[in-house]
């Protein structure tokens, strides 16, 4: 791996950290490079060891600036028409993010051993291990902001579309998404929104009728019962939206510090909790208003205490669609030992039936044509009161994604968040 990629017009590009990090502050994070061998050698020469000075720029994909990643000669597509390997597929995924049942069914279908899942707690850790070259997986579930590193670092291989006909079952957007033109390297996995979950029986206000629903959290009368997500992108974005700013990839320092100030204010007013346990806390009534992810709230029914109906839990996302949305991806890693099988797995996960099976476990839906809110309610996979946790294609197209930031801006976001967390 060669850390030689360069600078964009804005300055040295730097990948933002995943917004979907379950464990932003986990102990296992914060990682160092692998593959620093060449750097080490360079160190003995004079001058600071910089990974900077390159000539090609890593583009930052945006809806207004779609990117088609290049193909590299030393990272070829596998040939078509091959037979799948009979080995154990090795999957590298978030914790509890795929239904074991899906894996078992896959194994039965292709007559192979059950795929083995290794988990990571956040993307820094995952990327550090992948870069180190000391791990060997077939499939990886990244977030969009990692695309640059993955492609230019030659960590993932381009896909051979002939093995993945089920792409037709996914929303047409994903046949040519802005972050991966012509779906060269990825297929979509889950799709989700960030909104506010609240207990209707404890909180009389209805965010659908409020002037500034994001400010719902800033009410001192709910002191001790308010929580926000432990993720620097989500946190600062919340502050931005409360202040009326909807550019969630802003590089404007004063906007970022205003957001940070708003969050500090929130901490003082409500003694806000910062955690990712919305999926248990809101059903259990420990937290009454939680900034949360759609997929965390969908399975609320299985966390409700005995005798409490699930319709006391509500989930709000802006009806005009102008709120944070995101999707995760599935990729095949370059050193995969079972590349054909991996491709078939990607195909398998794009199938409607498997998507529904997966949903019953994770609560996160996939952008497949057959997965509609009505269908989920009809099949009793989702209570009617939580229909808002599903994502419609219109939401996805109007929503704002939290994407890769240039280096200095990312540093501002991180620092702003550090202040909030250490108030």
């Amino acid at each position: 791996m060669h850390p030689r990629e360069g600078w964009s017009e804005d300055g040295p590009p730097r990948p933002g950290v995943s917004r979907r990090s379950f464990l932003r502050t986990s102990a296992s994070a914060g990682l160092l490079a692998g593959g620093l061998g060449p750097l080490l050698a360079a160190c003995s020469a004079g001058g600071p060891p910089a990974g900077a000075a390159g000539t090609t720029a890593i583009p930052l994909p945006r809806p207004s600036n779609p990117v088609t990643w290049p193909l590299f000669k030393d990272n070829p597509v596998i040939k078509s028409g091959l037979q799948p390997e009979q080995g154990t597929l090795k999957i590298y995924n978030w914790v509890a993010y795929i239904n074991q049942q899906c894996l078992k069914d896959f194994a039965k279908k292709y007559n192979v051993p059950v795929p083995q899942v290794t988990t990571f707690n956040n993307t820094d850790e995952a990327m550090a291990k992948l870069r180190s070259g000391q791990v060997s997986f077939d499939i990886f579930f990244p977030t969009i902001d990692l695309m640059g590193q993955l492609v230019y670092g030659k960590l993932i291989q381009p896909l051979n579309h002939s093995y993945i006909p089920n792409i037709s079952q996914a929303w047409p957007d994903f046949a040519d998404p802005f972050y991966d033109g012509k779906w060269r390297y990825t297929v979509p996995y889950t799709i989700y929104t960030t909104g506010i979950a609240w207990r209707k029986d404890k909180v009389p206000e209805n965010p659908y009728t409020m002037a500034n629903p994001w400010a719902m959290l800033w009410q001192p009368k709910y002191k001790g019962k308010v929580a926000i997500l432990d993720d620097y992108r989500e946190g600062i974005s919340l502050g931005l939206m409360k202040n009326g700013i909807y550019n969630l990839n802003t590089t404007n320092a004063s906007q970022i510090s205003a957001s940070s100030a708003a969050l500090l204010d929130l901490a003082h007013l409500t003694n806000v909790h910062i955690d990712n346990n919305d999926y248990t806390e809101v059903p259990a009534g420990q937290i009454w208003i939680h900034h949360s992810w759609s997929g965390d709230m969908a399975p609320a029914a299985s966390y409700m205490p005995k005798g409490v109906p699930v319709d006391v839990v509500g989930y709000w996302f802006p009806p005009d669609g102008r709120g944070p949305v995101g999707n995760d991806l599935i990729t095949v890693l370059k050193g995969a030992e079972n590349p054909v099988l991996a491709h078939l797995f990607l195909n398998y996960m794009l199938d409607l039936h498997n998507g529904l099976t997966n949903y019953t476990y994770t609560g996160y839906m996939q952008p497949l044509n057959g997965i509609t809110p009505q269908r989920l309610v009809q099949e009793q996979l989702l209570p009617k009161s939580l229909m808002s946790t599903t994502v419609r294609p219109s939401d996805f197209r109007r929503g704002v994604m939290e994407l890769q930031l240039p280096v200095p801006a990312n540093a501002l976001w991180e620092q702003g968040w550090q202040r909030v967390k250490s108030a």
Binding site: L31, L36, A96, Q100, Q116, T119, Q134, Y279
Partner: protein
């Protein structure tokens, strides 16, 4: 050892003084009476300490995914649930095996290494010894995360033949836990003093004989205590192993438990796993106790003596 500096006054005078100091109204109490206060204190502490253990065991039989709301009794997480129970989830199997494997490897390496180190450093005076003693303590107080990060770095860029995986985890854990036996054995050595060694030497034994027949038996409680601590420390550790694992085959239970707490969408099977581990540990201790009794049959007296010796008294 410090000695008391009380003046050797006759008992009567002290008794009178005590009585007058406390006031004549205070009845004379038996100084050898059973310390009810202390016993109550101990039981209160034990209750405080063990109630959560009971709760963890209880919730392993919970019929739902919640850790705090009781949803009915079931064996679901042990074997009834066909996908997510301990019996049916291959990742959990691998995790248990890895936990036990790591715990044994690390304990077997750390305890002898640490004991030898403690003995050597303590008896070998000099600046080198003191320096390494200091380094050992440094390894104890360093925050685990920074140590883990540095180890990850070292294993992926410097000692790349080690790489990531069980070997890396073992090496890091041994280094991390070396201070347990080192500190505990040193503390014990300090209180034992040199008299036994010197007596044995005077009687003509060589160093090895002194070690084997005098020091090690005297240190058995400390060695045992440090083995228990190292074992449980490894079972609990999640920072180092999370950083140094390379696939689910070398990921121990602690990482799963930690991820569950921080947002993995519910793996209550882990409570079941924890209960199983508890039962397993109890079984191991019972086996160890029976084994010890069998090994020292004819030498030892009552059962309590045996347990007490294993755990700390002489």
């Amino acid at each position: 050892m410090t000695t008391t500096t009380a003046t050797p006054a006759p008992a009567e005078r002290a008794g009178t003084a005590a009585r007058s100091a406390l006031g004549r109204l205070r009845p004379r109490r038996n100084p050898w009476r059973h310390p009810w206060f202390l016993e109550g204190w101990t039981w209160l502490y034990l209750l405080w300490s063990l109630v959560p253990v009971g709760i963890a065991v209880l919730f392993s039989f919970n019929n739902g995914q919640s850790q705090s709301i009781w949803q009915g009794f079931s064996w679901r997480w042990y074997f009834a649930d066909p996908v997510n129970s301990v019996l049916h989830d291959p990742n959990l199997h691998a995790a248990v095996i890895q936990t036990v494997r790591l715990a044994f490897y690390v304990t077997l390496i750390t305890v002898p290494l640490g004991v030898a180190f403690a003995l050597g450093i303590n008896r070998w005076r000099g600046y080198t010894a003191a320096t390494f003693n200091f380094v050992m303590i440094l390894s104890f107080v360093i925050p685990e995360l920074i140590f883990g990060v540095a180890m990850f770095f070292v294993f992926t860029t410097l000692f790349t033949t080690v790489g990531l995986g069980t070997l890396a985890e073992t090496l890091a854990l041994v280094t991390w836990n070396l201070s347990w036996p080192a500190i505990i054995v040193q503390a014990r050595l300090v209180t034992i003093g040199r008299q036994y060694e010197e007596a044995a030497a005077d009687l003509g034994s060589t160093h090895w004989q002194v070690m084997r027949r005098v020091m090690l038996p005297l240190l058995t409680p400390a060695i045992f205590a440090s083995a228990v601590l190292v074992f449980s420390s490894v079972v609990d550790d999640f920072v180092l192993v999370d950083l140094l694992n390379s696939n689910s085959g070398n990921t121990p239970m602690s990482v799963y438990i930690y991820s569950q707490q921080k947002g993995g969408n519910g793996r209550p099977a882990l409570n079941a796993l924890g209960t199983i581990m508890l039962v397993m540990s109890l079984v191991i201790v019972i086996i160890g106790y029976i084994g010890y009794r069998w090994m020292t049959r004819g030498e030892r007296g009552s059962r309590v003596d045996a347990i007490a010796t294993l755990a700390g008294s002489d």
